[in-house]
């Protein structure tokens, strides 16, 4: 009997006890599996160039993708506005998934409602679901705004959000003047970053362009403020704090448009805060008057950027700058737009980051990395790796397209360390698995799902991509700004040193290199 009351044995050890090992061995007789030899043969085959060729020839099947669907991005956006409840029109299971997904990453509650459409709504449309749903949401959760998006079900049957919301208002679900911005977010187009874009555009359109023909369009009165839009960001809690600190150091007037950094970062003090922080309606309206908008992640905001540009502002589009040169560009843009000098404090922080890189670069120089994630993050992080003399050898974006690939290639061409690097748009983690066998690298940068690649290929994983379920609280520290660069650097170094220690830890065999000073 392996279990004990004194020292309770958990699953990771319990099933290694002899009783269980015997039991599991005996179970095999009922599984009628292939022979061990056959299994080993296929294990080895999946590591070959031949397998890679066949794997890369896939046309229909996607295996272990690094992307999610549009409404997830829409829920993210709704969470970024003050006292706003996300309302997803369509099947209810989707909403259970979005809420779970975010809560597993942020370790925070995620509020969101569904219009709970079922078979009858599939036949007759979901108008009644919208009418009842808005009324229930409004009464029960008393939001200041309800941001509507759609699941693929509602999109396939062609529900018209604009008409439905108008009708619901006529039926008294919510007051006529109550703000219900909306966005169609079909899951079969793009990815979660497309959903971010569409949903944010929906909010801006609502407030700037006359609230779906129910109010006069706002007139722009040019001002001096700068808008900041972050894009879909799993590190938003840490990053947004850093961005605000930078803006405050500049002393500029700024509006963050879509800021979920507070609602996903609330205290445990006896009170559940369903709503916390977020961009207010007043800020959204004021943002029309800004001098310019800085969009930190281009591919998260393609339509939004165009829309803002058409409203008379300069739009500066970045690709999730990470590291020295990227942050330099960001700060210089702020300086250019506002006429304010780069704060001495930030200049010092820049020097500190360069100092740390100088201290440590020898350990990262020439190291080869595989990385995957959203297109902008990959551009930003690759640039930082190149600055360190490291090589972003395989860069995979399941939701990246040709235009992203072109940008990656330009970046690679800008550095001698980019010569052997390649971008892979529209590829998934099963493609990457092949690459890690046929063209191995030293480290992998990705999200929690990357641990399966770490297990299969032995490539150490650094978790720096949404979602991260199996490590806690990574999202509270930034990866943007010089401070963020410092964190990324330390993470890269930590994994390097841990791997080196693990590789040299055998006493009397390898531990001559198990060094104390490095």
């Amino acid at each position: 009997m392996p279990q004990s009351a004194d020292k309770v044995i958990d699953h990771e050890n319990l099933f290694r006890e002899p009783e269980y090992q015997d039991m599991l061995a005996n179970k095999k007789a009922f599984e009628f599996n292939h022979s061990d030899a056959k299994i080993q043969e296929i294990v080895q085959w999946t590591k070959t160039e031949d397998y890679k060729q066949k794997n890369f020839a896939r046309e229909g099947l996607t295996v272990n993708p690094a992307k999610a669907c549009q409404p997830l991005g829409a829920v993210y956006v709704a969470n970024g506005f003050h006292k706003t409840l996300s309302f997803v029109h369509g099947s209810q299971g989707c909403v259970a998934y979005y809420r779970s997904h975010f809560s597993r990453h942020f370790k925070e509650p995620t509020s969101c409602v569904s219009s709970s459409m079922t078979e009858d709504a599939a036949v007759f449309g979901g108008l009644n679901n919208m009418i009842d749903g808005l009324a229930n949401t409004y009464n029960l959760y008393q939001p200041d705004m309800i941001a509507v998006s759609t699941t693929c079900m509602a999109e396939v049957i062609g529900d018209d959000l604009n008409a439905f919301i108008k009708t619901a208002k006529e039926k008294g679900s919510v007051p006529q003047e109550f703000d219900v911005p909306f966005a169609h977010t079909p899951a079969f187009v793009g990815s979660h970053i497309t959903g971010y874009d569409n949903a944010l555009l929906g909010v801006l359109k609502h407030f700037w362009d006359g609230k779906a023909d129910t109010a006069p369009k706002l007139t722009r009165v040019p001002g001096e403020a700068i808008n900041f839009i972050g894009g879909f960001d799993g590190f938003v809690v840490g990053n947004m704090k850093e961005i605000k600190r930078i803006m405050d150091l500049f002393g500029v007037e700024y509006n963050v448009i879509c800021d979920p950094s507070e609602v996903w970062n609330t205290p445990t003090d006896g009170e559940f805060r369903m709503y916390e922080g977020g961009t207010t309606k007043e800020t959204v309206e004021r943002a029309l008057n800004a001098k310019a908008t800085i969009i930190f992640q281009e591919f998260s905001c393609e339509k939004t950027a165009k829309f803002i540009g058409e409203h008379g502002q300069e739009v500066v589009v970045l690709n999730s700058p990470i590291g020295v040169a990227g942050t330099d560009r960001f700060l210089m843009e702020i300086s250019r737009l506002t006429g304010k000098p780069i704060p001495a404090q930030l200049e010092k922080e820049r020097g500190l980051l360069v100092d740390a890189m100088a201290d440590s670069q020898a350990h990262l120089h020439g190291k080869r990395y595989a990385l995957y994630g959203d297109p902008d993050f990959l551009l930003g992080l690759s640039e930082f790796l190149l600055e360190l003399g490291a090589e972003p050898a395989h860069v995979v974006a399941t939701n990246g397209e040709k235009d992203w690939e072109a940008k990656m290639n330009t970046l690679f061409a800008s550095s001698q360390y980019g010569a052997a690097c390649k971008a892979y748009p529209k590829r998934d983690l099963w493609h990457l698995r092949s690459l890690l066998f046929t063209e191995p690298v030293d480290f992998l940068i990705g999200n929690t799902y990357g641990k399966y690649l770490e297990r299969d290929t032995g490539t150490p994983l650094i978790r720096m991509v949404f979602p991260i379920f199996d490590r806690h609280h990574y999202h509270v520290r930034p990866i943007w700004g010089y401070e963020g660069g410092m964190r990324v650097l330390v993470d890269l170094l930590d994994e390097y040193f841990e791997t080196l220690d693990a590789n040299t830890i055998v006493a009397g065999k390898t531990d001559y290199s198990y060094d104390i000073i490095r």
Binding site: M1, Q3, S4, A5, D6, V8, I9, D10, H11, L14, F15, Y20, F30, E31, N33, I39, I42, K54, N55, G60, L61, T62, V63, N64, P65, K67, A68, C69, Q92, G93, C94, Y97, H101, K107, P109, S116, T118, E119, A121, D132, G133, A135, N136, Y138, N139, L140, Y141, C152, M153, V156, P186, F188, V189, D269, G270, E271, F272, W430, R433, D456
Partner: protein, 485 residues
């Protein structure tokens, strides 16, 4: 002084009335039918169930796809389950349910992988059948050791008129009768996960049982002691810590449904002498079918906590000869000291603590005994997707005056906990952080909060430790700042 039972009932009834006031009138009327105070002696808990969730109220429920792919099919380890439709459903449910298994993932087992047809607009417009054919060919080429494929339909499939049955039949023929199972578990079907379980059960009946060659495995020789574990998904190893007890009492477990299960185990199950059913909700359908078609009787059991385990071992043994019955007693006796040690250690710290539950499947009733073994009291419970037969069965577990809430909404649950002030809430990931913020200790009772197993005697030790750890954590003493106390 503690309340009388009548006072408690009156308080709970008043609480329900208060909560309902927040709703629009029409909604309040509907929700009222799902909330009740349990009256001892009644045949059920006095609530309506398995009814559509109301829009906009923040139901905790999922969908039919979650019930089929996420619960029933997903854990079958040597098959590849295609999430057929857009990318999201498969992504959010990817390896999220902790269905433990042994195997070389990506080679002979595939549970923690996300296979998706990643529908694009053109697939919606022109249909996805052609793509599905290509996908099956690619699976056969790149994952040659798979023992079968299932097609888990997402919402669009049923709306655009795809014929996944025809594709499945065609490809099965092309691949020499390879098991290929189309499952019509589109998320808009039914009112919750529950219909997905039913559809998944029916798909096993139609596409596994009815297509299996009974002489396929001449090596398989039946014994009088063959049983199958039905409705255990091996979350954190639950089925393993259950299997070990059945084997210790001399039974031969020929199949696990579906945690750590294989297609061969499913196909051989009709040869069992008895099906032992843990999660009644998700697998009663196939158990009834096997009884009707193959004459395999089934018995429900409960492996949470020593009291219920003991009852269950005896009940299962009662279907066999005296040897097995004697063995059951030996198993019970063998684990008695361990159970006593666990209870002696934790009960003094947990005695009298109040628990509120809201979970799915069998757990809103099944875990009550385990809490009671530790001296704790379940004061409120409800099912995410239960039916009336679940609420009937619940009457054997709950005490008079227990607060019952079917398909509870976010608002109701928060208010109930705020007023009832339990010492522990057991629910899911969406609820966890809400209650922890409120300073209420919490355990996820779907995923065992990344712990487990909780089934069986070995599991109970972990369960007891976890509940104690949640309640007794020094953290809860810190949630109010000293200057605010």
């Amino acid at each position: 002084m503690s309340m009388t039972i009548d006072e408690k009932k009156a308080q709970n009834a008043a609480l329900i009335d208060e909560v309902l006031k927040a709703y629009p009138e029409k909604t309040a009327k509907k929700r009222a039918k799902h909330l009740n105070v349990h009256e001892e002696g009644k045949p059920d808990c006095g609530v309506k169930s398995n009814i559509k969730s109301l829009p906009g109220v923040m139901t905790i429920r999922g969908c039919a796809y979650a019930g089929s792919k996420g619960v029933v099919w997903g854990p079958i380890k040597d098959m590849i389950h295609i999430s057929h439709g857009p990318v999201g459903c498969g992504q959010y449910s990817w390896a999220a349910r902790r269905n433990y298994y042994i195997g070389v993932t990506g080679v002979d087992t595939f549970v923690t992988m996300q296979f998706t047809s990643d529908f694009q607009e053109k697939d919606i417009v022109f249909g996805g059948d052609k793509k599905l054919e290509v996908i099956m060919d690619e699976i056969q080429q790149l994952f040659p050791l798979n023992k079968g494929i299932s097609v888990q339909s997402e919402c669009p499939i049923g709306l655009i008129g795809d014929d996944i049955e025809a594709v499945s039949k065609k490809k099965s023929k092309e691949y020499n009768g390879h098991t290929i199972v189309p499952v019509r578990c589109e998320g808009f079907r039914g009112v919750s996960q529950s219909l997905g379980h039913h559809i998944a059960n029916d798909a096993i009946r139609d596409w596994v049982f009815d297509k299996a060659d009974p002489d396929k495995r001449p090596d398989f020789v039946s014994t009088p002691y063959d049983v199958a574990i039905i409705g255990d998904y091996n979350i954190g190893g639950d089925a393993w810590s259950s299997r070990i007890l059945l084997e210790e009492m001399g039974l031969r477990v020929i199949a696990q449904w579906s945690g750590d299960g294989t297609i061969a185990e499913l196909e051989n199950t009709p040869k069992a002498k008895l099906n032992v059913l843990h999660c009644y909700r998700s697998m009663n359908y196939i158990s009834r079918h096997m009884e009707e078609k193959y004459g395999v009787p089934w018995v429900e059991y409960n492996f949470f906590g020593p009291t219920k385990i003991e009852e269950s071992l005896r009940e299962i043994a009662s279907h066999f000869d005296d040897t097995i019955k004697a063995n059951a007693e030996k198993v019970i006796a063998k684990y008695k000291p361990l159970m006593q040690a666990v209870i002696d250690k934790y009960r003094p710290r947990l005695e009298g603590k109040k628990v509120m539950l809201f979970v799915g499947g069998l757990r809103p009733r099944h875990v009550i005994g385990a809490y009671e073994d530790l001296g704790m009291e379940v004061v409120g419970t409800g099912y995410e997707f239960g039916h009336n037969d679940d609420y009937q069965r619940t009457t054997h577990y709950v005490k008079d005056g227990t607060l019952i809430y079917d398909d509870v909404t976010g608002y109701e649950f928060e208010k109930f906990v705020e007023k009832v002030k339990p010492d522990l809430v057991g629910s899911g990931i969406k609820e966890k952080y809400v209650f922890q913020k409120m300073g209420v200790p919490f355990r996820q009772m779907h995923s065992w909060d990344y712990s487990g197993p909780y089934h069986g005697y070995d599991g109970f030790a972990i369960f007891a430790r976890d509940m104690d750890m949640a309640i007794s954590s020094p953290i809860w003493g810190l949630s109010k700042a000293p200057w605010k106390k």
